[in-house]
C-alpha cells in the first residue's frame, strides 16, 4: 500500500472514529441513568436470596451486608477466584456498575 492510500485510509478511519465518538457523547448526554438500577438488579437476586436479600434458608442473606464486601465477592466469583456452585456462572452476567448498584441497595436494607 502506497503513502497516498495509507493516508486515505487513515483519514477515513479518523472520520469514522470522529463520528463514533460524537455519537457516543451524544448518546451519553441524552440518556439519564436509570434511577432504579440497584433496586431492580437486587430484585433479580431476591429469587434465591430472599426479598431485599432477607434469606430464610441455607442461601446467604444479603440484606444489611457491607456493599464493598458484596462487590468484592461478586468480582471474585466472576474471575473464578472464589469457589461456588452457581455464583461464578451468574456473576459473569453482570457489569461492575450493575453489581455496585445492587450491592449499595442491599447494604441499605435492614437485616430482618
Amino acid at each position: 500500500m502506497d503513502g497516498a492510500m495509507t493516508s486515505y485510509f487513515l483519514r477515513c478511519g479518523a472520520a469514522v472514529a470522529a463520528v463514533c465518538i460524537s455519537t457516543t457523547f451524544a448518546f451519553a448526554a441524552d440518556v439519564t441513568p436509570y434511577a432504579n438500577l440497584g433496586r431492580d438488579i437486587a430484585s433479580n437476586c431476591a429469587a434465591c436470596h430472599g426479598t431485599d436479600g432477607r434469606s430464610r434458608g441455607a442461601i446467604p442473606a444479603l440484606a444489611g451486608q457491607d456493599a464493598q464486601s458484596i462487590v468484592r465477592s461478586m468480582k471474585e466469583f466472576r474471575e473464578g477466584r472464589r469457589a461456588a456452585t452457581v455464583m461464578q456462572q451468574i456473576a459473569k452476567g453482570y457489569t461492575d456498575a450493575q453489581i455496585e448498584a445492587a450491592a449499595a441497595y442491599f447494604a441499605a436494607q435492614a437485616k430482618q
Partner: protein, 433 residues
C-alpha cells in the same frame, strides 16, 4: 431521616413536578396514553397467582409504595408449586410441603379475589369474571400459565377421557393422584411417561420426574421399571446431569426411547400408541403439548404460532394489545429463555417496574436483565442446576444470553440439594409473603 431518604424525596418531588408539567403534553407529545395520567389511584388487575402473577402483584405494591391499587384474580385457594412437585410424586415430600397460602399478600395490600377471569373488554378496560363483578383496570397483567392441547390425541378429545390420563403438569390434585397410582402399582409393574415436543413448561422436569420415580422404585419396588417415551430426539435440559444419574443411581430401571411421538392412547388397556410401537404400562403419564392459558389467547394475543404470546421485553406488554401484559409460561420467550418458575419471577419484576413507571409518568428501564436458576433433584437429597443471565439487546429488541454467563452442574450433589431447598423457600416467600 438519613441521607438516602432525603435523596429519594428530592427525586420524588422532581418527578411529581415533571408529572404535573407533562400532564397536558404527555398524551400528544410523548405518546403516553391519556388514561395513564388520569386516575387518581391507578388500578392494576393481575390474572393468575403463580410465579409470574403473584410476584408482579407484590412488587407493584412494593415499588409504588402502595400508590397503585392491585387486584389479583386466582381460581385456586392456595399456591401449589410445580418446582419440587416431582418429589411429591417420588414420595420424599408431601403436597403440604409445596403449598403456600395467599394470605401473605395482604401484608402488601394486594387484594386477592378468588374467581376466574373469563374475558377482557380492552376498549372499556374491564376483566369479566366467572362469579364476581367485572374489574376495571388501567393496566392488566395476565399470567395464566399453560393450557393443554389434546388435538392430536384422538382418544383424549373429551374432558372425561382427559381426566383418566394424568398429566400431573400442574401441581395439585393430579400430583397426589399420580403418587397414589404409583403406590398402588404392584412391584414388577411398569410406569410409562410421554414427553411432548419442546417447547413445554419446565424443560428438565420430565427427566427429574423420571429420577424421582426411579428413586422410589430403587428403594421400594425394585422389580418395577420406567419407560420414557420422548417425542424429542434427546433429553431437553441438563442432559449430562440426568444421563449420569440414570447410569450411576438407576442402572437397569430406565428405558429411554427418543423420537417417540404419541399417536393415540388406549384408555382401556393403558397403552401409549406411537408411530412404530405400542407401549402398555401399569401407570401411564402423558404430558400433552401446551399453549398459553385461555385468557391470554383472547384478542389475538397468542400471536406466536397460535400458541404463545409475543411481548415487548422492556415491559412484557403484548405486541397485539396495548395495556395488557403477559408473563411466564404463556409467553413466547426469547431463544434460550426457558419456561420456568424462576424466569416468570424475573419477568414479573421487569414488568412490575415498567408498570409502576408507566403509571407514574416515569422512564421505563431500557436495559432490563433477568436470570434463571433452575435446580433438579436426582433423588431425595441430591440436586444439580442450570443457570443463565439474559440482557436486553436494544438493536435486536430481544433478550440475549450475556456472553460467558451461565452454566450447569457437572453432577448432582447434596450441597446443591440444600441450596435447591433454600431456593424454593426464598422464591415462594418472594412471591407470596
Amino acid at each position: 431521616m438519613n441521607a438516602h431518604d432525603g435523596r429519594t424525596r428530592r427525586v420524588r418531588n422532581r418527578r411529581a413536578f415533571l408529572r404535573i408539567a407533562s400532564t397536558s403534553l404527555a398524551a400528544v407529545a410523548v405518546g403516553m396514553r391519556a388514561n395513564e395520567v388520569r386516575a387518581a389511584v391507578p388500578k392494576v388487575v393481575v390474572v393468575g397467582a403463580g410465579y409470574g402473577g403473584a410476584t408482579a402483584a407484590k412488587y407493584i405494591r412494593k415499588w409504588s409504595a402502595g400508590r397503585i391499587e392491585v387486584t389479583l384474580v386466582e381460581r385456586e385457594t392456595a399456591f401449589v408449586s410445580c418446582p419440587v412437585s416431582n418429589l411429591v410424586i417420588g414420595g420424599s415430600r408431601r403436597i403440604a410441603d409445596i403449598t403456600v397460602p395467599y394470605d401473605g399478600l395482604a401484608k402488601w395490600g394486594v387484594r386477592v379475589v378468588r374467581d376466574e377471569a373469563l374475558d377482557i373488554d380492552p376498549a372499556a378496560r374491564i376483566v369479566k369474571l366467572g362469579r364476581g363483578d367485572a374489574l376495571a383496570y388501567d393496566r392488566l397483567i395476565l399470567s395464566p400459565g399453560v393450557d393443554f392441547i389434546y388435538d392430536d390425541i384422538p382418544s383424549l378429545a373429551t374432558p372425561e377421557a382427559q381426566a383418566r390420563v394424568l398429566h400431573a403438569w400442574k401441581a395439585g390434585p393430579q400430583t397426589v393422584e399420580l403418587r397414589a397410582q404409583l403406590e398402588a402399582m404392584p412391584d414388577g409393574g411398569v410406569f410409562a411417561i410421554h414427553i411432548p415436543k419442546a417447547p413445554f413448561r419446565c424443560p428438565p422436569a420430565p427427566y427429574e420426574r423420571t429420577c424421582q420415580i426411579a428413586h422410589y422404585f430403587s428403594t421400594r419396588k425394585k422389580k418395577s421399571r420406567i419407560i420414557v417415551l420422548d417425542a424429542n430426539e434427546e433429553i431437553q435440559s441438563k442432559k449430562a446431569l440426568f444421563t449420569a444419574a440414570w447410569e450411576s443411581l438407576y442402572k437397569g430401571y430406565i428405558d429411554y426411547r427418543p423420537n417417540s411421538a404419541l399417536v393415540d392412547v388406549d384408555l382401556a388397556t393403558r397403552t401409549l400408541k406411537l408411530d412404530f410401537e405400542d407401549v402398555t404400562a401399569n401407570v401411564i403419564n402423558v404430558i400433552p403439548p401446551q399453549r398459553a392459558g385461555a385468557i391470554a389467547r383472547r384478542l389475538g394475543m397468542a400471536n406466536a404460532n397460535d400458541r404463545f404470546c409475543l411481548v415487548d421485553f422492556l415491559t412484557y406488554e403484548s405486541t397485539e394489545q396495548r395495556g395488557i401484559h403477559v408473563l411466564g409460561d404463556a409467553i413466547q420467550g426469547a431463544p434460550l429463555m426457558p419456561k420456568s418458575g424462576h424466569m416468570a419471577n424475573q419477568q414479573a419484576k421487569v414488568c412490575a417496574a415498567a408498570v409502576v413507571a408507566l403509571l407514574s409518568g416515569d422512564e421505563v428501564n431500557l436495559m432490563p436483565i433477568v436470570a434463571n436458576t433452575c435446580y433438579s433433584y436426582v433423588d431425595d437429597k441430591q440436586a444439580g442446576h442450570v443457570t443463565s443471565v439474559h440482557a436486553y439487546d436494544s438493536v435486536q429488541k430481544t433478550m440475549l444470553v450475556v456472553p460467558g454467563s451461565g452454566g450447569l452442574s457437572l453432577s448432582a450433589n447434596e450441597g446443591e440439594g440444600v441450596f435447591a431447598d433454600g431456593w424454593a423457600h426464598n422464591i415462594w416467600a418472594d412471591m407470596l409473603m
